[in-house]
Symmetry: C2
Subunit: 201 residues, 2 copies
């Protein structure tokens, strides 16, 4: 009843040998680097393979398609992000809201610095729109949870909305760091803390 006559959908293939795992790791690292530097479209599979010290055929052995490479990287980063969030949530429970949110900013900032391709990969236009919405919603929910379990707790009705804003502010703070205008950056980050303090009081 299910023998798709000829058109198997291409999917990434997990390596089975040690050598293969090393290759895949190198390929993903190279991909992350090049996507971050040039953006999705300008990145070429040839360059990814070259940076990984592999041949183009070897790259396609494990990632049969450019979108699939991007997807694999994106999913890997989403997992790491989830684990970062778990940590923050655990740390923040019961602390004052401003401190909890500051923790969010710090950890999230570290994460995005360690994964400079994340923004590029998350904004790709060919991602399933529904999945994107779900991811955003889950993130929102987790942060809302942090805000309602802080001290003093935010009313549940406002928590989700506040979470949305916190997320955007995190994004803003990362963009600030990337825009390397030193003096402005520091002042703006300080002002942002001031704003959050005023808001949570």
């Amino acid at each position: 009843m299910s023998s798709q006559s000829s058109s198997e959908k291409p999917a990434i293939k997990a390596p089975r040998l040690e050598r293969g795992r090393a290759r895949v790791a190198a390929l993903m690292a190279a991909g992350a680097g090049i996507f971050a530097e040039k953006g999705y479209d300008a990145a070429t599979m040839t360059e990814v393979a070259a940076r990984a010290g592999a041949s183009i055929g070897s790259l396609y052995q494990f990632f049969p398609t450019k979108p699939l490479l991007a997807q694999a990287l994106h999913e890997e980063m989403l997992e790491k992000m989830a684990s970062v969030l778990e940590t923050v949530l655990a740390e923040g429970r019961g602390k004052p809201a401003a401190a909890a949110v500051q923790g969010l900013f710090d950890r999230f900032g570290e994460f995005l610095e360690a994964h400079p391709a994340f923004a590029t990969l998350a904004e790709r236009r060919d991602i399933d729109k529904e999945k994107k919405k779900q991811t955003r919603a889950r993130l929102r929910g987790l942060i809302a949870g942090l805000l309602t379990s802080a001290e003093p707790p935010l009313p549940a009705a406002r928590a989700e909305a506040a979470a949305v804003i916190v997320l955007h502010l995190i994004r803003a703070s990362v963009m600030l760091k990337e825009s390397d205008e030193g003096p402005v950056r520091e002042a703006a980050l300080a002002e942002m803390r001031r704003m959050l303090a005023a808001y949570f009081a």
Copy 2:
């Protein structure tokens, strides 16, 4: 003394006849639409020409290059943005800070809704980095001016930093509107107003 022997840099050519002006207008409208819908890379010159009801050769007659088409659109939008800003600054002088900023949000929001390609064109990776920084700096300066001339005036030292944040919040509010998650959107916008009110008090 200045007869660059053969390599004239390609530049956009202004139309001289009425027919030409109409063409250019149609081409730019089509370009803006397609860039907005598909992003810079996925947009094709052929499709732009088709949507404008022109031949591909006609498009290249006025815009000898894809980057030049994007640049022309970007500059046109920057000018409109500048004029919008002038209006807001004039209106806001002397008003309470929160109201002035709300005006900024509204007008800017309208502008970005009317020019959905703006974000795409402004984020292009091949834009002169220095020019980008200058544009941002001028924008910051203008908004800082609005904040220091409001009532009560923000101290000049904080105004620039606050302007940076206001800009990011505007960006956030536009992204919210685009993400069409109705209920969340309204709540988040309300929460954002609350945050601004707290901040400016």
